[in-house]
């Protein structure tokens, strides 16, 4: 029984991976055809290397987590494929770097599978993880002030030797793990109504304080980092997990009220935040200055139309090789994809994200214990919310934030952290699906 289920899950995964392989082949070939002269058939080695890496991840799942959800890996693989093709089309050197980061990411994916016989041991290290995450964020800020590493106004980078990292991407994982463990432990206490404040039942303050402290500390650090997007992301994930743990909407309502107040205050007090909000509301006010990136991204998206210009056929670089939209390979890669694949392409892309969100939350609902549920849901919500914030910022559904499009954007830290998150999700789903069947 188990052996049959095992094979069928992994075989479905393999089938889906073959579909991804087809997409990758078509993507690279299309760029190759559109840009003959600059791009050589060498590009096909990228495709081969990429598929090889996905094959290794697939084999690792076959051995370590035979029952893991069969959709997660191919879906993530598809996103990486879209990203790497688009990055390759914009800047072949960066595609090579991204391929190396992908190899490291897949390596971490396998390490997590191999090292964590049972991911639930992580629950025991909750305070260690929480404190380590905060310490990482603090170290980033201190090193940024010490070395003057400020990128686009944000202090989110740390430089070691020639390499740069965004530790916030890993701190995000650590804090989700911490919150899952902490909320699992305290959820009854937090859901209790021992005290009555203004007619509302609330738990005793002492149960709330460590949580408030931890999250407040994280948010304070992020304000110091000047990284609006990550702060929004953390706060959103925190509220959603609190809601899941307690099923009490009062936390969401209260949290949103605190958030609204905080947003208003930072709008008035923090120039970086005020600028982001102003660009969001009036992007055309300073077209050649602060609004340039936002406005040019909209032009690129608009030009894509329903079906796009075709991969490699969009007008995304100037004759000097400068991108028409600044940061088009990283934060703004959605604009490039929307330009070249059109509404049809980004609809497919968003559906893939929806698929991952659906599978992640399905895993959460299948999982047997509170920690697994909260962890799976937290990781999934973090991914979904991040997509909403960055894409929403580009299409003006939300203020612009400088965060990556998970699995797609160019950037090592983000890619590696997402593969680690994926490994955790696979591990949870493996256990949950086996238990559900038993």
């Amino acid at each position: 029984m188990s052996a049959v289920g095992l094979r069928s899950s992994r075989n479905r995964e393999l089938g889906l991976l073959l579909l991804v392989a087809a997409v990758v082949a078509v993507g690279f070939t299309s760029v190759l055809v559109a840009r003959s002269g600059v791009v050589s058939t060498l590009s096909l080695t990228y495709a081969a290397a990429f598929l090889g890496l996905l094959g290794i991840a697939h084999m690792a799942l076959r051995i370590a987590l035979p029952d893991a959800d069969p959709v997660l890996l191919p879906a993530a693989g598809l996103l990486v494929a879209v990203g790497i093709v688009e990055i390759y089309r914009l800047d072949p050197t960066r595609a090579r770097d991204q391929a190396i980061w992908l190899a490291i990411g897949v390596g971490c994916f396998i390490v997590v599978l191999a090292a964590l016989d049972d991911y639930r041991v992580l629950e025991r290290y909750r305070y260690l993880l929480g404190v380590a995450s905060l310490a990482t964020l603090a170290a980033t800020i201190i090193s940024s002030y010490a070395t003057g590493t400020v990128v686009n106004g944000a202090r989110v980078w740390i430089r070691v030797g020639g390499l740069s990292f965004q530790p916030g991407e890993f701190a995000k994982l650590g804090l989700v793990l911490f919150m899952a463990a902490y909320l699992r432990e305290k959820r009854e206490l937090l859901a209790s109504r021992e005290r009555r404040v203004l007619g509302l039942g609330l738990p005793q303050f002492k149960h709330l304080s460590p949580l408030a402290l931890m999250v407040g500390g994280a948010l304070a650090l992020l304000v110091l980092m000047n990284d609006f997007g990550t702060s929004l992301l953390f706060f959103g994930v925190f509220l959603a997990m609190l809601y899941l743990a307690t099923s009490r909407l009062i936390y969401v309502v209260g949290g949103l009220a605190v958030f609204a107040l905080g947003a208003y205050l930072s709008y008035r007090l923090v120039p970086h935040v005020a600028e982001r909000i102003d660009i969001w509301l009036h992007p055309w006010q300073d077209v050649y200055g602060s609004g340039y990136q936002s406005v040019q991204a909209l032009y690129a998206i608009a030009d894509g139309g329903a079906f796009g210009t075709g991969l490699g056929r969009g007008y995304l670089l100037t004759t000097g090789g400068q991108p028409v939209v600044p940061a088009i390979q990283t934060d703004f890669i959605y604009a490039a994809i929307a330009n070249e694949t059109g509404l049809a392409g980004v609809a497919a892309l968003l559906l893939v994200y929806l698929l991952i969100v659906q599978r992640g939350l399905k895993t959460a609902s299948l999982a047997g214990d509170g920690f697994s549920k909260l962890l799976a849901a937290g990781l999934t919500i973090a991914l979904g919310l991040q997509v909403f914030l960055i894409v929403g910022g580009i299409v003006r559904a939300a203020p612009l934030t400088g965060i990556t499009l998970p699995f797609v954007s160019y950037g090592g830290s983000s890619l590696v952290a997402n593969w680690v998150a994926l490994a955790l999700l696979c591990a949870i789903s493996d256990r949950a699906r086996r238990e559900a069947r038993a």
Binding site: V39, S247, A300, A306, L317, T318, G321, N339, L343, V391
Partner: protein
Amino acid sequence: MNRAIGRVYAVLASGLVLLLGFTAYWQLWAEPSLAARRDNAHQVVQQLSIRRGLIIAADGTKLAINHAVTTADGRHVYERRYPTNKMFAHVVGYSSATDGRAGVERSANDYLIGAHTDLGDALANQLHSLAGGEIHGDDVQLSLVPAAQRKAMSDLAATGKAGAVFAVEPSTGRVLVSASWPSFNPNRAVQGSLPRRGSALVNRATQGLYPPGSSIKPVIAALALESGRADANTQFTDPGYFEEYGRKITNDNGERFSGRFDLTFALTHSINSVFARLGSEICGGRARCPALTGALQKLGFFSIPPLDYPTDQLAASGTVRSGTNKLLSPNAPIDPARTAIGQANLVATPMQMAMVAAAIGNGGVVMRPTLVDSVRSPSGALRYGRHSEPLNRAFSEQTAAAVTGMMEHVVDEGTGRAAQIPGVQIAGKTGTAQTGRNGQLDAWFIAFAPAQNPQVAVAVVVERTNQYGGQAAAPIARDVMQAVLNAAS
């Protein structure tokens, strides 16, 4: 917890659907209005794949050509090159992926990218481009005369001052010279290394507003004749000044001409007291003076000239609010006597003053000025051909002829002797305007030649000099007119 998970899923899913909705809005509904915007860098890059038409001067000199480049992402595109460098920078302008477009490159862009065609041609172009073919724009032929333009630029450079020259063909309105100094190299705009702002970027010929000084006096002379206030025999005397609003308007250097003389003598020697009085009389002593401002309007003052050139690179001449360049309405009160000697708040572009000279030379009729002579497709088919269009009659033919005679005297024996060309009768008028800065003058000269059948009318201004119009500007006007006449013969 599973019910809560379901709710969270619903929220996240609607968020993603919202993103799709917004993207669809930009891609399907907002697309046309966004594509039309000038700050759209995407469109500028896209248009680089079009082989723009050439811009050609009257003698066939190529002013803008294409240079094939391959972009970092392997696209074959064309960059503009301007072989004449600084020589035609302001008038031809530039087309750059980073700095946008200016000058004729902007005003004639539709032709240059081959978009200014009928539906059939547009469809053929579209099919051609879908088949992977290049789009070739149409070639634009200008009326500019390179020999005269070069002379204007080198003469302006030699003054060591900023300045401008504008010349037109009086009978047609074809623009022959549009020179502005200091200039810039438009090839730098293509490389994106043009300074964001700077005095060199301003087209002084079409945007520079200067008090015209005495160069406006031919207009006053014409109005005096037309109103019957003076004729060929009217005698004037010079008290040395004219008093208005309690302050004296004096002649230059407190000079005073003795005896009785006619209007021709007054213009030949640019006698302020006479023209200030005439201005006051024409206006009946009133500050609201339709007789004067109406005549200026007919000459083109008080509105942006209808040149086939970007509107934001053209300025309207007229009376301005003190200390600003803010144009007032023609109905606003003026200071008639001081306006009549080209001071007070009257300002004009070199282009406008060239149109004044051209109108007098053309029997009183103002012609619509044009830069583009013709547009041809790459295969040689005529897409557009200019035709001459009268805009207004500013003066009667007799008045124009009389004023022409007076202006001949200015060059033959008056303040404009430096503009003489052996064997050619020139009609001209000097102007020397106080700039309000201590000792600094704007030197003007307007002229046309040959006086009786003019082929060229010109206006020259040299900024902030310490010389009179007859010294600083007249020789430049002479050289430019000579160059046009030589090129024509």
